[in-house]
Amino acid sequence: MDRFLQYALTGVSAGSLYALVALGVVLIYRSTRVLNFAHGDIATLATFVSFSLLSRRYSFVAAVVLSLAVGAAIGIAFYFIVLVRAQRQGANLLGMVILTLGLALIIQGVVVYTWGAEPVSLPFPISDSKTYRLGGVVVSQLALATIAAGVAGSLCLYLLVQRTRVGLAMRATSENVMAAQTLGIPTRLVLGVAWGMASALGVVAGIFLAPALLLDPFFMLDPFLKGFAAAVLGGLNSLPGAVVGALILGVAESLTGAYLTIQFKNTLAFVIIIVVLLVRPEGLLGREFKERV
């Protein structure tokens, strides 16, 4: 039983990072209908920025805030400079996916050029080795902080989207852009804000992942794919769905690793998703597609 709880807790900790990534993916998909394949790479670049700042002896808070700003700025700039133009020309889903892939490649190149391909470790104030006992379960400080970051990120986003005027404008824009424009909502600006927020959420995930893994130019690829998968599992247009999907994915992955097979834990995670999608094609909490002929 203790073993089960232990692995479930590890899963929740991984799942809360996936949730941060997934929330960003969903936020972008439901507002601009773009699957952002550069999401992980934006986070990688920003995490490297915080690494540079920390090694220049900036305080941890300052470094995190600055790297969040960098991540958000890249997202916003990409939206205004590239996507707006492409959408004006009527680019389709595929075309926009390729555009984000292009951005991902550019960022990868810049990161390798600036920081090199050698893995480095991010000096992080919260330690991985310091642990607490809760009943029969051992939990590290880092895992606690990760879960806290996941909860805080989701909660802030929830409050922002459901309780503020900006959130109302975002919901209106993702519901119907034309109607929102007619009602005087500056939709461009709102979508830009959504891109910035989504990218910043990804950066938070990156910073909390960095101490557990080593920091190299591709360290976000796997977490990004997991976050993306979690978003699809929960339903791509549902923010609560992203969190639910991410937690299910994290726990399922950790339990398969513990009880079935460690080598195939990624595969089994995807198999679970495919099976769930075959039963509910629009994701767990997604709304059903209605198609007009």
């Binding site: 590239v82 991902a104 050029y113 495919i274 999608l277």
Partner: protein, 326 residues
Amino acid sequence: MDLVDSYREDLRFARRPITRALLGLVLAAVVAFPWVAPAYAVFIATLIALYSIGVMGQNLLIGYTGQISFGQAGFLAIGAFTFGHLRIWGMPFLVALAGAGAAAALAGLLVGFPSLRLKGPYLSIATLGFGVAVYQAFVNWEVLSGGRSGLAIPKLKALPGLSVTQSVYYVDVVLLALFTLATYNIISSYVGRAFIAIRDAEIAAEVNGVNLMRYKLLAFALSSFYTGVHGALYAQILGHIEPQSFNVLESLTLFVAVVIGGIASVEGSILGAAFVLLVPKVFADFREMVPVVYGVTILLVLIFEPLGLYGRWLKTRLYFQLWPFR
């Protein structure tokens, strides 16, 4: 001007004498290429030829049938390793090639089943999962992948009077020509029209009597057959394969090739394959900056030429056909 009198004439491959002459010139250049170009250029051209086959298959799936797949690297791996094992057991080249294609097509049928229920991004995740699963299966089961050092594949014997590089070049180019002709025939037959109907409006296609299940599965099987053959030829030219070369990035590269070359165009597939292989080679002097150049080119092509390279070619051709009027 250029009038079409009958449907047969519209379907014809080369309609006007000038097209025929140009086609002949291109063919002559392709045949003469390995005799005038250095061995390295011939090697790259061979890569482009075999890559084009995979991109064409991917284009049948994405461009013509409208099903997004991020799992192509899985089919590539299945094709490459099936081919490798068959060759090591002593099968002749063509049998091993057909076996590779068939194994990949079988896997394609399997992956096709979710496509009956899933759409767009949801389908893309399901296929991505397949790619990851195949990758991990090959990484973890050494029986399949030939262990840590990978699988060594017997080299092709040189054709009489040619070097090995030249023979591989001719084999791959002939296969590319066969696959190109096959693709043209598929897309201008009932099957191709059914694919396009599914892409444009699935429900309308079904109402008009297209058997959705049959044609979606057929699209997946056909496209993965192409990809399997691509994988096999790739294994042949490298002579040594390991599972690490068939990761998610490989799937994405194929995907980029389709969009850059031009969605739903056969010639575009070849242009796209040439693009993804040549850009890193041309900018090889700035090693670190290759991905940046690659990414910037993708952004520029897509913003200024949304129809891809083939769209640019069509516009140029139209300009000269109508010149001096516009």
